[in-house]
Symmetry: C2
Subunit: 111 residues, 2 copies
């Protein structure tokens, strides 16, 4: 997990917000999540990734991409598709995905 | 905190992604966060809110709004502005905000 927020990029770019409630059966989840982080970093136009999970509660992951084509490349990845399928079968009680075009961004860093 | 993901709405709508690293000086933060949740819920066009924080790590909050006008209404709120100022002075080491127009969304719920 990144310990720094992903800084804003020159807009427009895309944010894919993935919000999930876990089933409490995490077998295999950690390894798969690590593998997905490696894989997505290889996608041309991938800008960054951030993730937070409240213990026992909601998880939110946001992936940032340069354009629609970079999102489509990631969606076509077969290992990613297999992980999504396993997620629906085992890991997630529910989730929502919001695909959004970032129009502006702000960053703050303590001096 | 919501325990369910905010479901997708009819696009387009807006997602405001707020990612933050806390300073470790949370005095007053909890009360203010609760107050902000009450206040934002009164904004016309506010669609929902979800938040997750990894202990000792990154926090991600996503607010969903119907349109730019509803975001602007929230930004103009004076109590919200005071909370943002206090956040920069006390609570946050760093943060990023991404304002994004949601083009499509997907929901999954276990049957």
């Amino acid at each position: 997990m990144s310990i720094k927020p992903v800084a804003g990029h020159e807009p427009p770019y895309y944010a894919v917000v993935f919000t999930s409630v876990p089933t409490g059966r995490p077998e295999g989840y950690g390894e798969t999540a690590e593998r997905m982080k490696e894989l997505v970093a290889e996608v041309p136009g991938f800008l960054g990734y951030e993730s937070a999970r409240t213990p026992g509660g909601l998880g939110i992951t946001v992936g940032y991409f340069r354009d629609e084509e970079s999102i489509a490349t990631w969606q076509r990845n077969l290992e990613h598709q297999a992980a999504q399928k396993r997620g629906r079968a085992e890991w997630y009680e529910s989730y929502s995905v919001h695909v959004a075009k970032v129009e502006r961004s702000y960053d703050f860093e303590r001096e």
